[in-house]
Subunit: 300 residues, 4 copies
């Protein structure tokens, strides 16, 4: 029995908070309804850009439910599992299923960094996959976790029938290409907007990209160009997407992504502490870069 | 009104789990009762070595209660607050107070590492301190968090009446000395067994040391020797403590510390996943080092 | 006046030493004569893989002369300038010209790492370019130097009429793509075998690749496939080249590259101390990987 | 036969350049003559702060000769050997002896960082020590080299009769204490002004400190206080020395150290490119910190 295959572009949905910091489910619903029209293949809820670490368990479950209800049946909903122990991760996987998620995106544990050897990570994900009622994607995001899961480890994990892929946000193109080459029956989702085109060229199944929260159509168009072999168009779009992608991920972070969404006609909203809103200089810099990219018609 | 001053040696208590991974409150109680006789000045519950990230909220509160009840009134109980958002941290501080803790040890947020600039950390801890019903110690532990809070930031935080000190586990002696020099009315607790003597020599208030879970008396004796100006004795003890301290912290981690406690007559017990128990070779290496240190009479 | 443009694949020639460690110019000559037939566009002499840091000034000049004489007129000869001061770098550039080099590849200074801010690097390369009698390529190789020159700095340097390009060996695909996008009239040479195809897809002028010392034809074929728009073939070759490329660069280093050359029918020879020859286990691992790649017909 | 023992405080002499960048041997001589009166035990020539990487071989030898001639017979002269190959290092050791040096300070090779495993470093220093006509100190300076030599490796090297010690500039107090504990008949010279007092407390033989170029008497006084068991005075001096030491090493670098020397009545002079002179803001910041330290009577 073959595993389910992922494909296409998915945004790691941000979680909108209102002016007093409360979760704004209605705004989330409206965002998803708008995204439904843009050619995206699904939604990642409660990933790094979803501020999963800033919300409580009730908010978490209601967020998943909200997205599932707002999404069309054709859009997969993948729930981020940001837990630091096996027990908590398995419990969250079960809750995600009850809330309607189709799959889970499970981060590498990251508190005891020195102990997170490849064999330990392998054992952990095998356990999670055994116990999770939903298919598992591994989440490699060393810029947040300080932990790297290596291509050879992913290739071993790919043999588990309940581990269907990885979201690799490391930005390490060589490692992503290695995983694509080494892991069989495994969906490699690129998690970095700056290497989308080359990752697709090397066989990535699709991508989960922060910038797709603000510029879903451009990302989808790049994906389609690459799929159609239109390399010139793919390259041109990559060159438009890269600067703005870097700015809202490596540079300005979640607050920057939310501001970019506001600029682009979605509802970004505020961030929760310890994150802070953009200052005026950062906002201006972001707006300038967005205009320069030519990707945001309402800004030109 | 002067802040309360910390002093002496405190162990960052490990959290004992039984063979099936359940929290063993009775073992925890027995450990504390034994520690009560060793000259320690207090207990840190649910710090890094307490596997705070592996237990749920109910376990957390009962752990604090258990330690508070087992400790003598003279032993301060400081509860670790390992949260990634302001909301969760403040809530945990309030719960810690309800559970009987005397102070809280609040870790630097560590998920959005790139966003954790010094000003952001400053703002975060000021907010926590404003809202916490208990005095706050800042917890700097970059080997786990990938985030460093700098001496100059700590000096600014020291002006807040509800921020009483820092546990600095970075092992960066220069930074610790800087904090001691720069921060007024502030208790700097050394969090690294390998630099205990020099940290005390430079004016550290005391220490919170993993190795004190296995060798409380030796750590207390070093503290007292330093306080009495017996530098020769302090240095000799430092040379005995350092190798074993390194092995159970930088090397073998929490599983190693728990094994060392078992060897030393305390109840270490198992670790929860993703951590794994020591293998036979590691156990033997640990036992050899413990014997060589001359600090564990029952092993010689 | 437009700058000269680089293109194609160049190997960073290794410097052959004999069994007693003396420089074997005859072997170097024979290697180049063989390479002349493989479609390479030129030669980098005395780069990182050329052990420039292990030879003295007389050897250096004779090495450049030897390569220049053995190369056909169509093959450009680029001399590595591995110096830590402006004075020494300029002198070496002049000597390189006298020895017959067509251009120089000037490494970022790397001893006072903390002082090597982007403005300092900018000023340094502007000075070098003003004084060098040969066109300058900037050499970015952070894995050896611990210093990174950023795309924005390269874009500023690209305005100097005597700075014609960069060899970027960082392996950071995003940065290479940024440089291609930002720097005008500037040849970006990819210095990392694992990202050759995507770098070419994004517009890299060519590549300087360690693995091209052992597998020149495969690298040239990939280059030609990419130029011809045969993405399927380029991708297949990339998948064959990547594992062996990683092994001889990130893994086994110069000694590994020389052993791979010996296996492939070139003359690798020994390395000079502090480098050490491969052990038997490493040699076997290398041979196995080379066989598996299908790129070395004499090994299959 | 016991090895010679080092002790006391030595400055890593800066190399004065004049306004057009030429080496000013007369200024060097005058500096040494002034230092002769300050209680220093010897001089390190051509270390990191001596810009060894910015001068040519003729300048290097004449610099050693100049210092040897200006020093009293009681002051040891240790010549830095900043070479990247065994051949060059051995040749430099021989030249250093011919120029009058009493010992050599040999840096860990640092170009092929990934290849510099502990066994490779061990083999390298054993070879250097076999061939050097002068006693060898190992130079550990990872902030410049990106290479760390570990205490266990140093302990093995200590068994060589011609390896007499280490200058450890890592600032890693734990590692320095480990080396003191593990290596027998071996002089550990602290290379970091911020940890001088604790390093001496743990048994360091002495120190080679950049700040001693500007504040030799304060460093000597701290050394003597520690030797006499006057911990209060040692600690007070440490607190005065640390901020200015950090500023001129980690912060402003060699240009800062030279400016501090100018401020303190020595002849710092200019730096060679790629280093750049301090700007006005940096100069002012330095002067303010020097005044605040109370260590520079002519500035108060």
């Amino acid at each position: 029995m073959l595993k389910q295959k992922l494909s296409g572009i998915m945004p790691p949905l941000t979680t909108p908070f209102d002016q007093v910091g409360e979760l704004d489910y209605a705004a989330l619903q409206r965002n998803v309804q708008r995204y439904n029209e843009t050619g995206l293949s699904g939604y990642v809820v409660l990933g790094s850009n979803g501020e999963a670490v800033h919300i409580n368990v009730e908010e978490r479950l209601k967020t998943i439910q909200t997205v599932k209800q707002a999404a069309t049946p054709a859009h997969k909903v993948i729930a981020g599992i940001n837990e630091l122990s096996l027990r908590a991760a398995v419990q969250s996987c079960k809750q995600a299923r009850e809330s309607g998620a189709d799959a889970v995106l499970v981060v590498t544990p990251y508190f005891y960094k020195a102990a997170m050897k490849q064999d330990v990570l392998f054992g952990y994900f095998m356990e999670v996959a055994d116990q999770s009622p939903l298919p598992v994607l591994v989440y490699n995001v060393p810029q947040n976790t300080g932990v790297i899961i290596e291509p050879a480890t992913l290739a071993r994990l790919a043999e588990h029938p309940n581990i269907i892929g990885v979201k690799d946000s490391s930005g390490n193109f060589g490692a992503i290409a290695d995983t694509i080459r080494l892991a069989e029956d495994f969906s490699v989702m690129c998690g970095n907007g700056g290497i989308l085109y080359p990752a697709l060229s090397m066989g990535a199944a699709g991508a989960v990209l922060a910038i797709a929260c603000a510029a879903p159509r451009a990302c989808v168009e790049l994906y389609q160009a690459a799929a159609a072999g239109d390399h010139a168009r793919a390259r041109e779009l990559q060159n438009r997407i890269s600067p703005i992608s870097q700015m809202v991920t490596a540079g300005l972070g979640v607050a920057g992504l939310k501001a970019a969404m506001d600029n682009a006609g979605y509802e970004g909203g505020t961030v929760r502490s310890p994150l802070v809103q953009l200052g005026p200089a950062e906002s201006e810099k972001l707006a300038t870069a967005m205009r320069a990219s030519g990707l945001f018609s309402r800004m030109e």
